[in-house]
């Protein structure tokens, strides 16, 4: 029983190269996001995220009651008639507040993700394109920003620019962008080394055209994946910032604010407000993170 090792290794390699499914998958995702295998959990996540996104848009229009109408005689009353989840500590309809709160929560997180991805990919492509000294300066800058936790930055921003969703969102975006930049930089470096980039340089294409129309689209899978993952993080961090009272301000409905306001009820044995808001955040964030992981591993696989 002696199997010659070199030939065994060779057949292994040949089988891998010739495996049509593997090749189709690898080449398919290379071009972007086509044909990412989602699986049951993936589809479920997609449905949850889509549902949440729809709520963020139409929530304020379909809410059954005025989310700000308070009637203290109903404070902490449980599910009651058409009030599906009952009332919060100020006697406001909980279900309506959740629906309306989806908007700020969702938009805030989307804003953070979009800004962080835009800044991060600009830095990544710049570093990869010019290489050398530019790359070293950008990477050193990223390391400095890495040292600041997002929440700390948001607290500072709130102190300087005043509390609110905008300053909190911007602070988080700045704090997140190095994470995007680090992942995308290595992908962009690999893409930069591809022969087609050199061929197009020789054709006389300018850096703008090459980066925006060729290099960036070819790492778009990873860009979207990074955005999705950050969206999840941003939702949690923004809720935490609102909980601290530095993000969305109190009378306005927001899942983070609701967790914060519900804590009084929690201590008095009326956990409904905090629990429902937390549940919403957990479900949406889990779904988004799962999707992001899927997209990222597909993107990384394509880049091997």
């Amino acid at each position: 029983m002696s199997i010659p090792v070199p030939s065994g290794v060779q057949t292994g390699v040949a089988a891998e190269v010739l495996d049509p499914v593997a090749e189709v998958e690898a080449t398919a995702v290379r071009g972007g996001l086509r044909r990412v295998r989602l699986g049951v959990l993936g589809w479920l996540s997609l449905v949850v995220v889509a549902l949440a996104a729809v709520l963020a848009v139409v929530g304020p229009f379909v809410r059954p009651f005025d989310p700000d109408l308070s009637d203290l005689s109903f404070a902490y009353v449980g599910p009651y008639g058409s009030h599906l989840l009952g009332f919060d500590g100020q006697g406001r309809d909980l279900f309506s507040r959740l629906l309306v709160g989806a908007r700020t929560t969702f938009l805030g997180a989307a804003f953070v993700a979009v800004v962080a991805v835009a800044v991060g990919s600009a830095l990544a492509v710049t570093a990869a394109w010019f290489g050398g000294r530019v790359d070293r300066v950008v990477s050193a800058g990223l390391d400095v920003v890495f040292a600041f936790p997002g929440i700390l930055l948001a607290v500072v921003a709130a102190a300087v620019f005043g509390a609110g969703l905008l300053s909190a969102g911007l602070a988080l975006a700045v704090a997140y962008s190095p994470y995007v930049a680090r992942v995308l930089r290595s992908a962009a470096l690999r893409e930069r080394a591809m022969a087609y980039v050199a061929a197009l340089e020789v054709q006389g294409f300018g850096a703008w055209r090459l980066c925006l129309r060729h290099l960036l689209p070819n790492i778009s899978g990873l860009v979207v994946a990074q955005g999705t993952i950050l969206f999840g993080f941003a939702m949690v961090d923004l809720a935490a910032i609102s909980f601290l009272g530095l993000g969305v301000q109190s009378p306005q409905a927001d899942w983070g604010v609701m967790v914060s306001e519900g804590k009084t009820g929690l201590l008095q044995g009326y956990p409904m407000e905090s629990l429902t808001a937390v549940l919403c955040i957990v479900v949406v964030v889990s779904a988004v993170s799962f999707l992001g992981d899927r997209l990222e591993s597909a993107g990384k696989q394509a880049h091997r």
Binding site: A195, A199, G204
Partner: protein, 268 residues
């Protein structure tokens, strides 16, 4: 046309140093219009570095490169100079799998080059794309397909069409057929020979395959460790190599009657 009489490409005293490693040293050659030159040598002999310097992907440590009467030893200063250079010298790389943008069909790739270089209207561009496709032997369906649907040989044809879209005077073929099957290689070589007859373009063929060199070029340079060790007419050099290194290169080509065991059994 000032560039019809003089050489289309002239390189003199070219030198490239990476750190402490001298990759290319004192390289000098001229290329007349319509003639083709081969640069041969084993891997690491510096031939690809020469190609990369000529097309401007690598900056020479010393020496000058002049194409079509214009110096290109230093990086282009502006967009106009960059595109002008793109119309003088083009290159086709070795790896057909990475030399095309995976998101772009052949038609789109050639069309984009035409848009960068000229102000043609859509109909003219379509006509030129069609002509180039005919030239490299690709049909409409293949030109409209994304690279992943094409074979290695077809991708190399797209790469050649894209390189020819700027109507360069010199085309550098950096091991461009080395990654292809022998039969596909022959087809692409025929396409290249036809293109030269039709367009009067000059080739610089970088290769370690002496059969390919013989088929496509009139002159040859033999490089070893960054230095030209032999030069002359391709037929002369390959038939009667003067330098020991050239003889060694020629002897390492497997031919009829060549058995690997014989070399192995020879006592040391």
């Amino acid at each position: 046309m000032p560039d019809t009489d003089g050489p289309v490409l002239s390189v003199s005293g070219l030198r490239k140093v990476f750190g402490t490693q001298v990759a290319v040293d004192d390289m000098t050659f001229e290329l007349a219009p319509g003639r083709s030159l081969a640069i041969v040598g084993e891997s690491g002999s510096g031939k690809t570095t020469v190609a990369r310097m000529v097309v401007g992907l690598e900056r020479p440590t010393a020496g000058t490169i002049v194409a079509c009467g214009r110096d290109r030893s230093r990086p282009a200063r502006n967009a106009r100079e960059r595109t002008l250079r793109g119309r003088e010298v083009q290159i086709v790389f070795q790896d057909p799998y990475s030399s095309l943008d995976p998101r772009q069909s052949g038609t789109a790739a050639v069309d984009e080059v035409l848009r960068v270089h000229h102000d043609h209207d859509a109909a003219t561009r379509r006509r030129i794309v069609g002509e180039l496709a005919d030239l490299v032997g690709l049909d409409q369906r293949q030109m409209d397909a994304l690279p992943r649907a094409l074979s290695g040989g077809q991708r190399q044809r797209v790469a050649i069409a894209r390189a020819l879209a700027t109507e360069p005077k010199v085309l550098i073929l950096d091991e461009s057929v080395a990654a292809l099957d022998v039969s596909i290689q022959a087809q692409v070589l025929n396409v290249l020979a036809d293109i030269r007859d039709e367009r009067g373009i000059s080739y610089v063929l970088i290769s370690h395959d002496l059969a390919v060199v013989r088929q496509l070029t009139e002159d040859v340079l033999v490089m070893q460790r960054g230095v030209v060790v032999e030069r002359g007419r391709t037929a002369d050099v390959l038939d009667a190599p003067q330098h020991a290194y050239t003889r060694m290169l020629r002897a390492s080509v497997p031919g009829p009657g060549w058995k690997p065991t014989r070399t192995l059994r020879r006592p040391a």
